[in-house]
């Protein structure tokens, strides 16, 4: 039987008269990396906060690491590492002092060594004595990650850990996340980056506070059943404008030298392309859908 690190059902949360999360069921097997996706304001942060007991759900419930999310949130906190979306450490403390503070709150034995090892592992050793407020964005994120894995949590909740981080650092970041998953940690990571979503074993997509898609990247792409055409050649920029709004065509976006046309109804799309994309130099080719096509498609769909 699969054991679930996160197993919640029917979670709901409203702020004032805004229903921010509703009827959310989520199951993440132990040891998995789960990508948490959704547009801005779709309720990702709110859901994560409910999972670690920072917000009390209005309805629903379930378990995190086998502990009740409502009644045992104090115990959950001991075993969960939560990296907030907004940098939330003390700017007037050095990197080392911040980690030391965290280590003391978790009452970790052998604190000095644990902190030193973590600084080393995250490549923060050179910056240990720097004030946190003076770190660049990427290094701040790295420090935050270091702080939330210090106590070797069983479940890691990362809220957009790589926002504003450069490509190289992002890759290193993900290598770290993978290493930790390999050590048995379960990771729920929210992101807006497609390449990151593709690195996840499972992805969950949230829209308007509801979970609308979940599964592996391949499942998600297959289930969306999108039809994608790539148009190349002279005149695609003019064609793109005319294609928008044509029957069957959901989006027509230029990526570099190609015009990517996405829709659901292959026949209608072919018909539209045949009548609109008539420039002689244009070559049309059907290609497999990618994850980002699916997400843009989902973002455009009116909220269920």
């Amino acid at each position: 039987m699969t054991r679930y690190a996160i197993d919640v059902h029917g979670l709901a949360k409203r702020f004032g008269d805004r229903q921010v999360v509703s009827g959310l069921d989520l199951r993440v097997p132990e040891g998995e990396i789960c990508g948490f996706l959704g547009g801005n304001g779709s309720g990702k942060t709110t859901t994560i906060r409910m999972l670690c007991g920072l917000l009390t759900p209005d309805a629903g419930g379930g378990t995190c690491l086998g502990l009740d999310v409502i009644k045992q949130s104090a115990e959950i906190r001991l075993q969960v590492g939560y990296m907030t979306q907004r940098f939330s450490f003390y700017g007037e403390l050095t990197v080392k002092e911040n980690l030391d503070f965290v280590a003391r709150l978790y009452q970790l034995p052998n604190r000095g060594k644990v902190v030193a090892d973590m600084l080393e592992r995250m490549g923060l050793a050179d910056r240990a004595e720097q004030f946190a407020r003076n770190l660049s964005g990427g290094w701040k994120q790295r420090m935050a990650l270091a702080a939330c894995v210090l106590h070797r949590p069983k479940l890691l909740l990362l809220d957009e850990p790589t926002a504003g981080v450069d490509a190289k650092a992002r890759r290193e970041f993900w290598d770290l996340i993978n290493d930790m998953a390999a050590e048995g940690m379960t990771v729920l990571v929210s992101t807006h980056y497609m390449d990151e979503a593709e690195r996840c074993k499972r992805i969950v997509y949230l829209s308007g506070g509801r979970l609308i898609v979940q599964g592996t990247a391949e499942d998600v792409v297959r289930d969306a059943a999108l039809v994608v055409f790539d148009l190349t050649g002279e005149g695609i920029d003019k064609v793109s404008k005319r294609l928008r709004g044509a029957p069957g065509i959901e989006s027509a976006t230029i990526f570099g030298r190609a015009l990517r046309v996405v829709g659901l109804d292959r026949d209608a799309m072919r018909a539209s392309l045949a009548t609109i994309a008539t420039e002689p130099g244009i070559v049309t080719e059907e290609v497999p859908a990618r994850l980002d096509d699916v997400f843009i498609h989902l973002l455009q769909e009116p909220t269920a």
Binding site: L55, T84, F87, S88, L93, L105, Y106
Partner: protein
Amino acid sequence: MSGFSFNRFLAVLHKETLEMRRDKATIGLTVMLPLIQLFLFGYALNANPRHLPTGVLTGEESRYSRDLEAALRNTGYFDLRRFASEAEADTALARGDVLFVLNIPAGFTRDVDNGRKPAILMDADATDPTAIAQASAAVNALNATVLQRDLPVPLQNQTGGAPFQIIVHSRYNPEAITAINVVPGLIGVIVSFSTLVITALTMTREREAGTMENLLSMPVRPLEVMFGKILPYVGLGYVQVFLILAVSVAVFGVPVHGSIPLLLAVLGLFIACNLALGFTFSTIARTQMQAQQLAQFALLPSMMLSGFIYPFAGMPLWARAIGEVLPLTHIIRIARGILLKGNGFAEIAGDVWPMAVFAVAATGVAVWSYRETLD
């Protein structure tokens, strides 16, 4: 998760101390503000005003009366003007045109010469006791020598005391609170200003900086956070107390008749009251701005109703009832009692327990209003 953990409390304490130490602006303010306030209030109150308008009524025109007037002028405290009638002088005193009225009775010369030691009445407007305190003292120092030169020979070297007396009669405010009475009160006022405002900001600062979310996601209990955050400021409060006491004694000549350790111990309780209240505001307020306003909302009535500005006994019953709840009221009484009257614990106990009750209640409310979630 267990109850109170001393180690986690120490962790919060250490972190808060580091932050406090590095916040140079706040440190500077907490040291400078009390000094500035003390000098401002202290000097404004302890000012030694001269050339106070003084009315003179004389029942006779004599060498003695002229000697006396000249002597008063020479003290530098009095600017004299004559009044023709008692009614006129009374009106001037009531309107504040003059602060003193000197009444030299008819037959003064005759009574002095006969050795009857006549009394001269000096009415003083005591609504501003600090203004007249020094002047009144100067008057009392006068009478022994003023007339010496002009006295008849048999009276000149008499040892039976001054040939006449000036009785200063305080009108309007017979209690005549003096400047020395104000500075001990200032200790309480200044300490509550800084400690209340600073703690009111501690939690809201965490909330605004976003660090609250992280703090809450870690296993730390409300009491640990509260004590850990408050204790560094108790230290800061004591630094202020020492500064104020030192300056009060050295510069303003406030006497120390009682036990300083006792005063310090009781001030600890007073600081605790303020910090717990500040912490409560801090958990209620969403922003630092709101927290500051709450703190001011508490400080103003404290100043008004504690007996610091208006004499406590002169307030209506309801105001006194509120005043009795405020820690400031009690600490002002205690500080005055210990410093000026040399009171010991037995005398101040009646003002200690209301503060203790307040401290416990405020701590309870603070812990109760501390939320372990972001809801």
